[in-house]
């Protein structure tokens, strides 16, 4: 049985955090490094989903300053580093069709984009209550207390 602490110290990583972590030239880079350091020092478990990875892979190419060939090399290098982070796991939602309706409920209730509602769905399906992010898209959800922003 999962203890309360096991459930509490679980944090989902948003794609912007990963992109800034991989990009040393970003003004958010040090903050991204500090956030991941803090999470691991405080014994949190870190979670990604295939949806986060799809966004990461796409943006790593889309916003690259080098040729596509070089960008793919960068992606391979950066991702191979990320997966060496301790306590990092990949999660997904259960594949029961009926449960996917929750995504639409979240879109309606919190006025989220489909993909953001899907992130929320994956988090809640896996009892992940914290999100590490740099953007404000989830502010309404944070206000509701459904999940919390890791700060």
């Amino acid at each position: 049985m999962k203890s309360w602490i096991d459930v509490m110290k679980r944090c989902y990583l948003d794609v912007n955090l990963l992109l800034y972590y991989s990009n040393p030239d970003s003004s958010y880079h040090n903050q991204a490094v500090a956030t991941i350091s803090q999470l691991l020092s405080e014994d949190w478990k870190l979670y990604l989903s295939p949806l986060v990875l799809d966004e990461y892979f796409h943006n790593m190419i889309r916003f690259s300053r080098v040729s596509r060939k070089e960008a793919l090399k960068d992606l391979k290098r950066s991702f191979s580093r990320i997966i060496k982070l301790p306590k990092l796991e990949i999660i997904s939602s259960r594949l029961e069709l009926k449960r996917q309706q929750k995504v639409i409920n979240f879109m309606t209730k919190y006025q989220l984009r489909a993909r953001d509602a899907y992130h929320l769905f994956i988090m809640l399906e896996n009892k992940v209550k914290f999100l590490a992010t740099f953007d404000s898209d989830f502010d309404k959800v944070f206000k509701s207390g459904k999940i919390k922003k890791f700060e």
Binding site: P24, K84, L85, T133
Partner: protein, 86 residues
């Protein structure tokens, strides 16, 4: 979980492999203790400095647009979704 593994010689060390399912990552430090006939491997906790050094070491690797904002990332993903629409 119980599995049989075979030790082998590597230089002057004897290497015991750990099945992947046990979740031990390459480079992870383990404390080993002998307790009677048993060998007990315990993951060694890193201190704050070690964690920070590791996180810094694993950062970077990309050459992205310098001033990329969270909003731009969202706009790009929105654009990608819109392109998929008929």
């Amino acid at each position: 979980m119980s599995q049989t593994v075979q030790a082998f010689q590597l230089g002057s060390s004897t290497v015991v492999t750990v099945p992947k399912g046990l979740g031990i990552k390459p480079g992870q430090k383990l404390k080993v203790e002998k307790s009677g006939q048993k060998l007990v491997y315990k993951p060694q906790k890193m201190d704050k400095d070690e964690i920070h050094k590791l996180v810094e070491k694993l950062a970077g690797g990309a050459r992205l647009k310098k001033d990329l904002t969270p909003e731009e990332i969202n706009e790009e993903l929105d654009r990608r979704y819109e392109e998929m629409l008929p």
